[in-house]
Symmetry: C2
Subunit: 253 residues, 2 copies
């Protein structure tokens, strides 16, 4: 099975109950599974991009270059995320995506997915829910940048990544692999690398987190949460079709 235990399905299943033939339908439009090497650009800015890539393993970042040579990272991409939201929905891709380590993705054509949505609206909802999560992640990031202190931001980032990894079974209770360099985190949080480094040391010296070498351990989750204002909102489950509909219509759901 192409999608067996795929982290994307793990993530979806938290919001909606998928029937076996839903999964089969989704599988049928997966074109192929490919690997991408570190530092390879999956999505080139300004190109037409019309794929959805369900990340099976590995990490990437979505970013934007600014005139002054600065890079800003919009989002880190973890297993279970979808590359192509939102890029594939624009005439031309707005935000390039680059792999930060070797990446395995399952690829389908956007058109095929959208057609599937007409056949089974729950896939349209899945897309909505992804977009809503995306919007919320960004919203939290916005708040972080403008109204949280660097310590608060970093705390928030750590908790967020941990939660996202946990939700696809890639993090232990309090320990996880943080696959991003300080430069990447700095570019994500809008800090300079030296400053991020100092902030990181601060968290460690206060014994809130420990780690190094790509591993991070959360020592004092409660304090960290309160520092970060971390209180992630929970999405409703995706609604199911009303039972009372005429059978003809139920059939195509």
């Amino acid at each position: 099975m192409v999608l067996d235990r795929h982290p994307f399905l793990q993530r979806l299943s938290q919001h909606v109950e998928l029937a076996a033939n839903d999964i089969a339908k989704l599988e049928s439009i997966i074109e192929r599974e490919i690997s991408v090497r570190r530092k390879h650009e999956l999505v080139v800015a300004g190109s037409e991009y019309r794929k959805l890539c369900f990340v099976k393993d590995g990490n990437a970042v979505r970013y934007q270059m600014l005139r002054n040579g600065k890079r800003h990272i919009l989002d880190v991409i973890l297993p279970g995320d979808v590359i192509g939201v939102p890029n594939s929905f624009y005439e031309r891709a707005a935000y390039p995506v680059i792999a930060v380590n070797s990446l395995t993705i399952s690829v389908c054509r956007l058109d095929d997915y959208l057609e599937l949505c007409y056949q089974r609206p729950q896939f349209a909802f899945a897309l909505c829910w992804l977009a809503l999560q995306e919007a919320t992640t960004h919203a939290e990031r916005v708040i972080g940048h403008s109204r949280r202190t660097p310590v608060e931001q970093l705390s928030h980032f750590i908790l967020e990544v941990h939660a996202r990894l946990r939700s696809v079974g890639l993090a232990k209770e309090e320990t996880f692999a943080l696959p991003f360099s300080q430069e990447i985190i700095a570019d994500l949080l809008g800090l300079s690398t030296p400053h991020l480094n100092r902030v990181m040391q601060q968290l460690k010296s206060q014994e809130l987190v420990a780690g190094g070498d790509g591993q991070l351990k959360i020592l004092d989750r409660e304090t960290l949460k309160s520092i970060a204002h971390y209180d992630p909102p929970e999405l409703l489950p995706i609604p199911l079709a009303k039972a009372g509909l005429p059978s003809k219509q139920v059939a195509i759901l």
Copy 2:
């Protein structure tokens, strides 16, 4: 007609062609049209909120309070926007919404809308597209906060609001009513009011914009665009159902 020339429909029609009976369907789930007075909270943080409100006229802001007493504004809400995205999709509303001047909205129940989506998937797509726009707006805001200078940010904000107002026919070529106080704009952009004020003056002294008294005129759009890195990505049109589907299915699209 309840929704006749409703700015929300104007906005939607840029992405999808709506048949008369689609509009009728949407109208049928509108519960009522209500007015909200300035400074009134439409959505209370932490409450369960299960409505979608299509803004017909007036303005609001979605914000969040932080522990330290600071307010951060996530987004300004203009006619044509939908209040309840994303709040209504969470167990409890995450971001309160408050009217900044008198507001007229058309309200429907979220459940009714979602059910409509199962009947006519293009409404699910409409929701996706809204969420994607939301995500993109926030993404640009994120970039603004962390990697744009205040001048760049303000320029971007001016161009963004102008474009959003134009798309619902509420702005002239280069002039529009800016219904937000400097305090609100500062809280949105993550600046202090005094600083925003100085930045505003800078833009005026460079003869990029002019105005006052709630009116703003863009004098030099090109320079402003280049300062702001303003290059908004364009969403694809919402796909229509494949022609080849059985007629029963086409009928319900």
